[in-house]
């Protein structure tokens, strides 16, 4: 059997809202990801995708159940995951007082590495993402699409084993988001990273992923299967529709 790099086992997440009220975001969420797989997670808006994303990233604890990445808990074994997990967020989350280069380099700044070495790496990624000539400018001087590219460069710069993306192309216009998705696909194919891509866009999921996980509300896996090869557009359309109905009805 292939080695499972991410193991999510029966995770439950409850937010306390108010004194006595609980809000269940996830209940009975389980899935596994093998090395090198690109898994897309889709689900209705507000079903808890970002919460799961944060739990996988280790910045949010689970209430019950376990998450293991390379056999360790990303929340409890926080520091172990330095440079091991990279994240691309829905919004660029750039630090406004840092230039593109300074933003891209921040992950390496936290580990011991010489300034020249880390800037060389960050520059390579910025250029790879088409940002030549924009290394020294501040985020406010960049367009939304370019800022998102800087955010991607920042994630790739630490050369993580696992890449997590949360609606990374969602809020951009159609053209820009298509462009970015293409570059992203290219880069993950090239680097062979294990990827977990959260999206609400079924078409995007089919485009990017080898596997799809459909989440219900509260977060639990309704469907978890390999995305088949499509011989025709029609077949692809039917598959999209099937996934859509699963999301819509909240059951298989």
């Amino acid at each position: 059997m292939e080695k499972k790099i991410i193991v999510v086992d029966n995770v439950k997440k409850i937010y306390k809202i108010g004194r006595k009220q609980d809000f269940v975001v996830a209940d009975g969420l389980s899935f596994q990801v093998s090395k090198g797989e690109v898994v897309c997670i889709v689900g209705k808006t507000g079903c808890g995708k970002s919460t799961c994303f944060n739990m996988l990233l280790g910045i949010e604890p689970t209430t019950e159940g376990t998450i293991r990445i390379e056999g360790r808990d990303p929340y409890k074994d926080f520091n172990y995951f330095q440079t091991k997990i990279g994240a691309i967020f829905q919004t660029d989350r750039l630090l406004p007082w840092r230039s593109s280069l300074e933003n891209a380099v921040i992950g390496l700044e936290l580990v011991e590495k010489s300034k020249e070495a880390r800037e060389e790496i960050a520059l390579k990624w910025l250029h790879r993402l088409g940002l030549e000539g924009f290394e020294e400018v501040y985020p406010y001087q960049l367009s939304g699409g370019m800022r998102q590219r800087v955010g991607m460069a920042r994630a790739f710069t630490v050369n993580p084993d696992i890449l997590l993306a949360d609606e990374a192309f969602g809020h951009l216009d159609q053209v820009t988001s298509n462009q970015l998705r293409e570059i992203f696909l290219e880069l993950i194919k090239e680097t062979g990273k294990t990827c977990l891509v959260v999206t609400h866009d079924i078409r995007e999921a089919i485009e990017i992923g080898n596997r799809i996980i459909v989440l219900g509300k509260p977060c639990r896996n309704l469907l978890d299967e390999k995305i088949p090869e499509f011989s025709s557009e029609k077949e692809k359309g039917e598959y999209e529709e099937r996934i859509f109905s699963v999301i819509d009805r909240g059951e298989v």
């Binding site: 944060n54 990233l57 280790g58 910045i59 926080f78 520091n79 995951f81 330095q82 440079t83 997990i85 990279g86 994240a87 967020f89 919004t91 989350r93 630090l95 406004p96 007082w97 840092r98 921040i106 992950g107 700044e109 936290l110 501040y138 985020p139 406010y140 001087q141 630490v158």
Partner: protein, 255 residues
């Protein structure tokens, strides 16, 4: 109020207004005894006298030094409290009410307390200034810390920073605007409070000189000393704005 502080350059309108005031002043001085409204050339002479005499300018420097030392101490103390409130859960519940109480105490009450508590003049002045100024630092910076976006916090956390790195790479740069604002507010405030503090028992400083001018019915003196303070304030606001333009250069300019 900040908007007002931001724009201290004189525009054409300013010149006209000041021109009118000066003309009105000069005109009145010819109808009223000089000890009430002295004419402009007397004022200028007095101003230059202060400016060129080390014996007199010393008092300006002493006041400025007192203000700067007191502000530095207030800043360190205020910043420590704000960081405590920002990072130790629940400490806000204990600190904020006291802070609001302290802010409600009038400067004059601090003066009275300082006289009773401290025999030493310098300690009195320091105490009064710090008591008046540190809450502004704390509240401004605390607002800055609270305003840090969780999004950015999560982003940095995903790279696994140490506490120190979190502070130096995210928190400190985030609150630079708040720090600048708090200094802008406090320089003016501290200078005004220093005048009151120097009225009681001090034998140096601009406040003391103002008191002497009043006792000797020396109107030109009173105005010359006041002008000195205004010059100091303008210089410090100007420097702070320079610093701000440099430190906040990453922001889109509004004009």
């Amino acid at each position: 109020m900040l908007e007002r502080l931001k724009k201290i350059q004189l525009k054409k309108g300013g010149f006209i207004s000041f021109g009118i005031i000066l003309i009105a002043w000069e005109t009145s001085s010819h109808f009223v005894p000089p000890y009430l409204i002295p004419d402009l050339s007397t004022l200028l002479d007095k101003f230059l006298e202060v400016l060129t005499s080390w014996k007199l300018m010393r008092h300006v420097f002493i006041t400025v030094l007192r203000v700067i030392i007191a502000l530095t101490i207030s800043f360190v103390f205020g910043a420590t409290l704000s960081i405590l409130m920002g990072f130790v859960r629940k400490s806000e519940d204990y600190i904020l009410p006291v802070l609001h109480f302290v802010m409600g105490v009038p400067a004059l009450s601090w003066v009275v307390m300082a006289i009773i508590w401290f025999p030493n003049i310098e300690s009195r002045i320091l105490f009064i200034l710090v008591a008046c100024c540190f809450p502004n630092y704390t509240l401004e910076m605390y607002d800055g810390i609270k305003g840090i976006q969780k999004d950015l916090m999560d982003m940095l956390q995903s790279f696994r920073p140490t506490r120190l790195q979190l502070f130096s790479k995210l928190i400190l740069p985030s609150i630079v605007p708040a720090i600048l604002t708090s200094w802008k507010i406090n320089v003016g405030y501290a200078t005004r409070v220093a005048m009151v503090a120097e009225l009681v028992g001090a034998t140096t400083g601009v406040g003391f000189q103002l008191l002497s001018s009043q006792e000797m019915f020396d109107m030109p003196g009173a105005i010359a000393w006041t002008l000195m303070l205004i010059v100091f304030l303008l210089i410090s606001q100007f420097s702070l704005e320079k610093a701000e333009r440099y430190l906040l250069r990453y922001r889109p300019s509004t004009n």
